[in-house]
């Protein structure tokens, strides 16, 4: 089976557009979250969120007409651009390799679809623009990014909820392992929109939905929901031998991954925990390693009352005694939950953490439940001596994905 290398990383986030800068910010405990009121008039008082405030796509995508791209496509296409630039992929090289694209997203084009639909309600169907209709398909961002960058290989969009980005990485990894593709740009993108806010608010999942100060702090004893984030993150995945032969830097290697489903739809805590534990164990098995080989964990935890707890218990269950000594981070504490992009942001920062030897803390985590099974989780960033990391992604509806990433030795 072919080995899979990461040879480029790109991120557009509320904490910046360079994976090095974002890592520095995370280690300093800086937060991309801010109070937002822009959707209050529609009845959804989102209290805290992490939008990409000053996103200027022209900085990444100069010289061509951006009108056909909606915000999601602009975020995705920009992050792809940054990932390609990270290791010097040229358009010629991409085309000759028939580079593919796998894009994970939770809401996808929901905002564009909604705007299109509302426009026809207000102004009649005759007012609808065919150009806008092209962007109402859920795979529009992947199509636009492929057109922009000349990606002629497999073009897939994965929508599995919050786990979509990490699932897309796993999907692309398997395409390379099986020889179906040699290069795949894989990642996730999510737009902060009124549709997102309304969806989570109605479900009571936003921080402060049930009153009180918003506290979207992962694993905190008084956590009360999530703060939605925004952004896009992509990595270049390719066959390890080809990367080396092509002289491209191998930033890390994907060792294994797995996905599972909790068939109670996250309604039964025991089943939810079992499903997450199963995805961790299967990912370790796929990677050919055991719990003691894992040096650090990037948790999916986002401040959700229910799923943070399931995830912590599942990690302890799957990793046994290792859990007590495992350095843990949860970057959604500062980026918000960027949903379909979140797993990829976690992956990129965990690679950066292992390479730089520093792991971000979880700011404001000053109080955890008694008997909390991941005692190394704490507010301060720490030094890290790690070679193999585990990334978890847990959906609000029962999906779960785990991935093992390693520095090359």
């Amino acid at each position: 089976m072919d080995r899979v290398a990461i040879t480029g990383m790109g991120v557009v986030s509320s904490l910046g557009d360079s994976h090095r800068d974002v890592h520095a910010a995370l280690c300093q405990g800086r937060s991309g979250l801010r109070p937002v009121t822009q959707f209050a008039s529609t009845g959804a008082p989102c209290r805290l969120a992490g939008p990409v405030a000053d996103f200027d796509e022209k900085k990444y995508l100069p010289g061509r007409n951006l009108r056909p791209l909606d915000r999601l496509a602009r975020l995705a296409t920009s992050a792809v651009k940054l990932a390609l630039a990270d290791t010097g992929w040229t358009p010629e090289l991409l085309r000759s390799n028939e580079a593919g694209l796998a894009l994970g997203t939770m809401f996808g084009a929901a905002h564009t679809v909604g705007e299109f639909d509302r426009g026809t309600v207000i102004n009649g169907p005759g007012s609808a623009s065919p150009l806008d209709f092209a962007n109402t398909v859920l795979n529009a961002a992947a199509g636009q990014a492929a057109i922009w960058h000349g990606l002629t290989g497999i073009n897939s969009t994965i929508t599995t909820g919050i786990t979509a980005g990490l699932d897309a990485i796993g999907y692309a990894t398997d395409l390379i392992r099986s020889g179906r593709a040699t290069v795949v740009v894989a990642g996730g993108a999510e737009e902060f929109s009124l549709e997102t806010v309304h969806a989570f608010e109605r479900a009571g999942l936003l921080c402060g939905s049930h009153g009180g100060e918003p506290l979207p702090v992962p694993f905190h004893a008084r956590r009360n929901g999530i703060a939605p984030g925004e952004g896009a993150a992509f990595v270049i995945l390719e066959d390890l031998d080809r990367a080396l032969a092509g002289g491209r830097p191998v930033l890390a290697e994907i060792r294994g991954h797995a996905g599972t489903m909790d068939t109670s739809g996250a309604k039964d805590g025991k089943l939810a925990m079992e499903a997450i534990a199963r995805s961790i164990k299967l990912a370790l098995r796929d990677a050919g390693c055991g719990p003691d080989d894992i040096d650090c964990l990037s948790a999916s935890a986002n401040g959700s009352v229910a799923t943070d707890g399931y995830e912590a218990c599942a990690a302890a269950c799957a990793l046994g005694g290792r859990a007590a000594h495992l350095p843990v981070t949860a970057v959604k504490s500062m980026l918000g939950d960027t949903l379909g992009a979140s797993g990829v942001m976690q992956l990129i920062d965990l690679v950066e953490s292992m390479r730089q030897g520093t792991l971000p803390g979880i700011p404001n985590l000053d109080e955890v439940d008694a008997g909390f099974p991941l005692p190394m989780a704490g507010p301060e960033s720490r030094e890290l001596n790690a070679r193999i990391g585990l990334v978890n992604s847990v959906g609000a509806h029962g999906s779960s994905c785990s991935l093992v990433v390693a520095l090359r030795t």
């Binding site: 092209a134 002629t152 290989g153 073009n155 599972t260």
Partner: protein, 407 residues
């Protein structure tokens, strides 16, 4: 060691029948599922016909979940999934649930929730809206998740919303999941419900035919929006043989590609579509001369059918004229994310039945479309290898190949 993957069950929810057998019979008889649209107001459009599934009641297909807690695409998907498991002779309670997964394609997810949300938002009544405007229920992933929760399948679970090629993308994913050992059983297909946004959008693109969909005909006027679902049961050949399951066909391989050219127009020389077909053939270890039947994307628009013909010729060379190719969208309309799943079911069943469906409403040949489109009448022939083609907005192309299991 990669495992061989076979299709052992098929379930179809369509405007011409529920369940594989009724669907197949009506398909072979050339029945049309196109009728006046009832689920939405079409008064502001110049045409009022669609391929709606009339009289569908979800209740009988559900054992665990309340169908009222999900949208119509999920209900279709669960029904088609239940039919497919029955067809495969599988009781979900006896399956190893943790190694059984679901992969579904869709174009629109559960659009009725978004429609209600939008109507309330425009009317300023969101504060009074109930669960009918719940946008978490709108999201595409709910389709595969609902099927998994209903069947109790805890393995890999994914939804691939690659628009009009989504079913093929999901089947390709499931094929690899079973082949690589990530799953021992996959339910794979696509589902879409009739929706306001695509109906309006295709109308604005000038792509909708007012009365009849006649793919590859000189006087074709466009596609007709439809809805439905299909689910295939995929499992390793060895498992199917061990349990004595009837096998429709083996999946031989697939090819996926992207035009990277234009969001809604296909490449003018059919380059991307031809690459998908060529790569599917190469992966299957076959040549164009081996293909007994091509299920066309065949939407009935002037542009698709002309470019698809060019692409088939580009991939098949002279063999293009020997491989019959038909479009069942002439009967069902375009069922969006379900289309290629339904067509894949047809490609699998055709191998066992040694029959291929017609392109209906075919009256006048188009000089630019000069292949054998199986006009107006189903055909009995030796069907060993079938290819299911689907192309989507965003330039996503797909081709899946099925072959007969000998012996």
């Amino acid at each position: 060691m990669r495992r061989r993957v076979v299709v052992t069950g098929a379930g179809v929810v369509s405007s011409i029948g529920l369940g594989r057998q009724p669907f197949w019979t009506n398909l072979m008889d050339g029945r049309s599922g196109i009728s006046p649209v009832e689920s939405m107001d079409t008064s502001e459009h110049g045409f009022h016909r669609g391929g709606e599934v009339k009289g569908f009641t979800p209740g009988p297909w559900f054992r665990r979940l309340d169908p009222g807690c999900m949208g119509r695409a999920s209900q279709f998907g669960v029904a088609a999934g239940r039919m497919a498991l029955d067809d495969a002779g599988l009781d979900p309670l006896e399956v190893d649930a943790q190694s059984a997964g679901v992969a579904m394609g869709t174009t629109s997810g559960e659009p009725e929730y978004l429609r209600c949300f939008d109507d309330h938002l425009v009317a300023g009544t969101l504060d009074k809206a109930g669960v009918e405007a719940d946008l978490l229920r709108y999201l595409a992933h709910t389709i595969a998740a609902n099927i998994a929760c209903e069947m109790g399948f805890g393995g890999v679970n994914t939804t691939i919303p690659c628009a009009c090629a989504a079913g093929n993308y999901a089947i390709a994913y499931a094929f690899d999941a079973v082949g690589s050992g990530r799953a021992d059983l996959m339910m794979a297909g696509g589902a879409d419900a009739f929706a306001r946004v695509p109906y309006t959008g295709f109308a604005r693109l000038g792509a909708v035919a007012p009365e009849v969909c006649r793919p590859f005909d000189r006087n074709r006027k466009g596609m007709i929006p439809g809805e439905g679902a299909a689910v295939l049961v995929l499992e390793p050949l060895e498992h199917a043989r061990r349990r004595g399951a009837p096998i429709y066909a083996e999946i031989a391989g697939y090819g996926l590609s992207c035009d990277a050219y234009h969001m809604t127009s296909a490449h003018p020389e059919g380059a991307g579509a031809a690459r998908a077909m060529t790569s599917a053939l190469a992966q299957s270890g076959m040549g164009p001369e081996d293909v007994s039947y091509i299920s066309a994307h065949g939407t009935g628009t002037a542009s698709n059918d002309r470019l698809e013909t060019i692409a088939v010729k580009r991939a098949f060379g002279e063999s293009a004229y020997r491989a019959p190719i038909s479009s069942i969208k002439s009967m069902l309309g375009h069922t969006m994310g379900a289309a290629s799943a339904i067509e894949a079911a047809v490609c699998a069943v055709a191998i066992r039945e040694n029959r291929i469906p017609p392109t209906m409403n075919f009256e006048e040949p188009d000089p630019e479309c000069d292949l054998d489109y199986v006009p107006n009448r189903a055909r009995d022939c030796d069907v060993r290898v079938t290819m299911s083609n689907a192309f989507a907005f965003g330039g996503a192309n797909s081709s899946v190949i099925f072959k007969r299991i000998e012996g």
